[in-house]
């Protein structure tokens, strides 16, 4: 079915129009931009945390403030940054990659953007109350999050913020699923869809299957706080955790899969070949996502409450699809023609750093090992490698890759290299010491530590790493501001891309494509065209 799109001529875009457009690109940029702003805010909170933890004793903030800071840091990262950004990249790119003119139900997606903005403001609004923001951790376990232990409106604002952002994410996921089902251009079978779009597809499957559990948990928690009677002993706290973690584990894959797809495309593009083992990778993405829905009990190993062996089985099984993805990435580079432009640097950073998170994830999938390191800084290090090494490095690879498409200009290479080098070194300095701290007995979510020994040194190194990361991101922001005004103009395809979005103008107009689409006969249609032309 072909579609023609007609619309009124586009007016100049002011700040309000930027957040009221129905063009999927504007919605994607709005959602992604809001998400990125929250990333920066949460990063500032991290700097505060690292300043406090650099030495024993309370030097910078009180214990109460610290507890709010780490709660809002983690909450902002998950609910307000990583989830929205991981879906926003789909909202922007999936239609371009599948040859569509827009997403399905754009107005619903736009409503979601405003729910995210409102939810984020409400959550952070807790800081303005006399009793402060929520301080229950990003997980808000019952009974800690119940009224006796968390009196005051901060926790209520937090709950409302979480619900609004989760509903927004769910709406976006449905829009994206419908888009992928209905709006692919003829010839674009699912097995010819680019890997970013596949990453978004499986992320959306997990969102629709697991986010309702979070929304239910939050609503029930709110009722429990105000009317009581929901999460009662002996099993109430467990019920909460089952609901929460049923969402809480898939979400870390929701914020991972789109970026592994972006990294896969980056590696293929900058290796000058098509991605190796595409079909097995697609199958393993689906298996990976399904498995990730079945491992949540590994957060509960120490609770005498779940079938530890089942969750150990499913958690350890994750190494199979993860290993397959790495095989595809390395196999793509093998005998390729590698160019080390900025997107590829960050893609390589992803490959090397996420690996640390993945391997330590298998480690803690063994209950007897987890009994020691659970809820310690070892876990903090583990998930920062999957989230920072995975989501954040993947996001920057994607930004450097698609910035020319979105803006029509290239980001500066020199600043990009400094950004990469500093962020990579910072990621090692910041989080490797935490493995040792946790193994030696430092719990997580502690405002203070008073143990003797090398904990202060390790924490100082970690804090230095955090500040190095901070500097690297400042360089990135400088690069963006400069490049938006005076960056080198990019044509439609500055990288010799392989997928359909590189056939659209940079930036793409309303309706995305200004001519007939290239024929789609594989998952790398533009590469096919180039190879055919070279053969002639």
């Amino acid at each position: 079915m072909t579609t023609r799109t007609a619309s009124a001529p586009r007016r100049r875009t002011g700040p309000i129009e930027a957040f009221a457009g129905t063009d999927h690109k504007r919605i994607g940029l709005a959602a992604g931009g809001v998400g990125f702003a929250f990333f920066l805010l949460a990063g500032l909170l991290a700097m505060l945390m690292r300043a406090e933890l650099a030495g024993p004793g309370m030097q910078v903030v009180s214990e109460n403030t610290y507890n709010q800071v780490f709660t809002i840091h983690g909450s902002t990262m998950f609910y307000l940054f990583a989830t929205p950004a991981s879906l926003a990249i789909g909202i922007y790119l999936v239609p371009l990659q599948i040859g569509a003119t827009g997403i399905q139900w754009p107005r619903a997606a736009l409503t979601g953007v405003w729910m995210l903005i409102a939810g984020g403001l409400i959550m952070w609004g807790g800081f303005l109350t006399s009793s402060g923001a929520a301080a229950g951790g990003w997980t808000a376990f019952d009974p800690l999050s119940d009224t006796p232990s968390s009196p005051g409106p901060g926790m209520d604002y937090w709950i409302i913020g979480v619900v609004l952002s989760a509903v927004a994410a769910t709406v976006w996921a449905w829009c994206l699923l419908a888009t992928i089902v209905r709006r692919r251009t003829p010839g674009m079978t699912l097995l010819r869809m680019p890997l970013l779009s596949w990453g978004v597809l499986v992320a959306c499957l997990m969102v629709v299957a697991s986010f309702p559990a979070l929304i239910l948990a939050m609503v029930l928690l709110y009722i429990d706080r105000h009317l009581g009677g929901v999460f009662n002993p002996p099993d109430g706290a467990l019920a909460y955790q089952h609901l929460f973690w049923f969402y809480g584990h898939p979400v870390v894959y929701v914020v991972f899969f789109p970026w592994v797809g972006a990294v896969a495309e980056t590696v293929a593009t900058f290796s000058g070949t098509r991605f190796f083992g595409y079909r097995l990778t697609v199958l393993s993405l689906l298996a990976f996502a399904a498995l990730s829905m079945s491992v949540w009990g590994h957060h509960m190993f120490t609770e005498d409450a779940v079938a530890n062996r089942y969750f150990s089985l499913t958690s350890t099984a994750l190494l199979v699809p993860a290993g397959i993805e790495y095989f595809g990435l390395l196999g793509t580079m093998f005998r390729g023609r590698i160019r080390l432009a900025a997107p590829m640097l960050f893609a390589l950073g992803f490959v090397l750093l996420f690996l640390i998170g993945g391997l330590t994830g298998i480690f803690v999938g063994s209950p007897e090992l987890d009994y020691h390191v659970h809820d310690s800084y070892f876990i903090v290090a583990h998930f920062h490698y999957t989230l920072f090494g995975g989501t954040v490095f993947g996001m920057f690879a994607a930004i450097y890759l698609w910035f020319p498409k979105v803006t029509g200009r290239l980001l500066g290479e020199t600043l990009a290299r400094w950004h990469f080098a500093l962020m990579f070194v910072g990621a090692l300095l910041a989080f490797v010491p935490m493995f040792f701290l946790g193994h030696e007995g430092m719990p997580r979510r502690v405002a203070n530590y008073t143990d003797p020994g090398n904990w202060e040194t390790l924490n100082i190194v970690a804090s230095i790493g955090g500040y190095v990361i901070f500097v690297s991101i400042v360089l990135f922001l400088v690069n963006v501001f400069r490049s938006l005004r005076t960056g080198r103009p990019a044509g439609p395809d500055p990288w010799q891309g392989q997928t359909l979005e590189w056939a659209a103008p940079s930036p793409p107009p309303r309706g995305n494509f200004t001519g007939p689409l290239p024929p789609v006969r594989s998952y790398a249609p533009l590469l096919d065209l180039r190879e055919e032309a070279a053969a002639r």
Binding site: F141, R309, R337, L355, E368, E440, G441, V446
Partner: protein
């Protein structure tokens, strides 16, 4: 009897080399590929898929997963501290054993250790660590609960942790191999304001010394 630390170290000694080995292999391969396969060289393109190789590789990954699961499940099966809802720790003790009984109560933000056989109750004063006294080399049976929010009992030197839930009793048995002081006891489940200060130390005594201590402190509650 399980030595939890030894159990952990045995598992660790298998997991750690595998993790390190995989890390090194992938880092080296990545760096070597980037250096060797730079653009500019005239090189035939490789195929986009090698099905047999891929499936053999996937199969080997599955074998690794199975091997890790076998040693993990083995490490769990004899451990009385590793409970499944269907098994109580006490059932794993050798016949005729008379473990020392300790009731652990977690509250915001102190630990309390009760010795029902001796009428002793010990808790912390201010932010000082609470003191847990145990005999070496014999089973010690714990019954653990919380009176408010979720806490977690963690002795890093023993590589052991168990949550304390309100309204539930967790039973586990530990054996402390050698006399000495274990100073790292912590609460490992965030429980609010003074979570950082909810600590305890473990004094491990020879069984004879422990009995003497228990008798000397009979009925003392602090």
């Amino acid at each position: 009897m399980i030595d939890t630390r030894q159990n952990y170290d045995d598992l660790f000694s298998v997991y750690w080399p595998i993790m390190l080995g995989v890390l090194v292999v992938i880092w080296v391969l990545t760096i070597v590929f980037v250096i060797r396969y730079r653009a500019g060289a005239d090189r035939p393109l490789r195929r986009a898929s090698e099905s047999k190789l891929e499936y053999v590789y996937a199969g080997s990954l599955a074998c690794v997963a199975v091997a890790l699961l076998v040693i993990t499940f083995n490490a769990m099966s004899d451990d009385p501290a590793d409970s499944h809802p269907a098994t109580l720790a006490g059932a794993k003790l050798p016949a005729g054993a008379q473990p020392v009984q300790i009731k652990t109560t977690a509250a915001k933000w102190k630990w309390r250790f009760d010795y029902p056989d001796y009428g002793i109750a010990q808790t912390a004063v201010g932010r000082a660590p609470a003191r847990l006294v145990v005999p070496a080399g014999v089973p010690v049976q714990f019954e653990q609960t919380s009176i408010d929010v979720i806490h977690a009992f963690w002795i890093p030197e023993m590589r052991f942790k168990k949550d304390a839930f309100p309204g539930r009793v967790h039973r586990f048995v530990l054996e402390f191999p050698k006399p000495g002081i274990l100073s790292g006891g912590k609460c490992a489940e965030y429980c609010g304001l003074d979570h950082s200060y909810m600590t305890f130390t473990v004094r491990v005594m020879e069984p004879g010394e422990f009995r003497a201590w228990a008798e000397a402190n009979r009925g003392k509650r602090q």
